[in-house]
Subunit: 147 residues, 2 copies
DNA sequence: CTTGAAGCTATAGTTGCTAGAGACATTAGC
DNA sequence: GCTAATGTCTCTAGCAACTATAGCTTCAAG
């Protein structure tokens, strides 16, 4: 039994244009078409899309997912490759968490100092203007992206 | 004493094209120009750019920074506005942290189950394919962005 | 006075989608 | 069977927040 794109989108909790986008970048293969040129998907396609969605949820970039998919398409290679992709992701996630925790501390400090005065003595503005007021311990590094 | 764009970039630890970009989107005012049409910045501009950079480091979106800047340009209003911008930012950061912690747990679980086998029994692929294997407690919600 | 670095404008690319226009297909109600 | 309301099609453009390129001009050092 075949699904139209809207049903597939609903089943995988992905938006319709996102599916077409994944097809466009080659993450999903081109599906069958109905007589009226509409895309028709089968169960395998739903699985593949669920895989992609889940990996995206986990923060994997598209290119990593492409690698994972090519691994799972030919499942007789060693696991090491999939493993190392996941390890890289884990390290990245840990780094993001560390950075966000430092950031949270600084925001809380700002808010505590502000506590309802007027802008003339509002620390939010002041603290943002002077990086040297940051606690050295949680110093945010150069151009490392927050995400 | 005036700074050329390169010196300003160095002093604020922001890249040169980024400064021109900020000018283009109206976050920085158009600076004076030299006889040869090169941008010249003063100390006030450096302060403003430092403010922007720091706020970006803290994860404030550009529009929030625009609001904060307009507040600090007229510092006799109540602090509540700046305060609430920071509070929204804090809530956002906390949400990101929660999501990333759930994500980290799942990646660790995946890696523990994989532990050097072959893809035939590699859980990385399998877990990614089936969202229902996620621990219910940390279930990742719908379309909430990871970042 | 020359050469190489730094500056200028303008445009296009990045990532991962999302939104719109205008035309065709399908389905539900009557 | 017919009509109206969705759903789907392609194509293009837009979002954040920059980054990179091309081809030119200006400036500072030797």
């Amino acid at each position: 039994m075949m699904l139209t794109i809207g049903k597939l989108a609903g089943a995988a909790r992905v938006k319709v244009p996102t599916i077409r986008y994944y097809e466009q970048i080659g993450l999903l293969p081109q599906p069958e078409r109905s007589a009226g040129n509409q895309r028709l998907y089968d169960r395998a396609m739903l699985d593949r899309l669920a895989f992609i969605r889940h990996a995206r949820d986990l923060g994997f970039p598209i290119e990593a997912i492409r690698d994972l998919l090519s691994l799972s398409d030919g499942p007789d290679q060693p696991c090491a490759a999939a493993d190392s992709i996941a390890k890289i992701q884990l390290a990245d996630v840990e780094a993001r968490i560390a950075r966000l925790v430092a950031l949270k501390a600084e925001l809380e400090r700002m808010l505590a100092q502000c506590a309802g005065g007027c802008i003339a003595d509002c620390r939010v503005i002041e603290v943002l203007g002077d990086h040297s007021l940051c606690t050295g311990e949680h110093r945010l590094q150069d151009a490392a992206p927050v995400m």
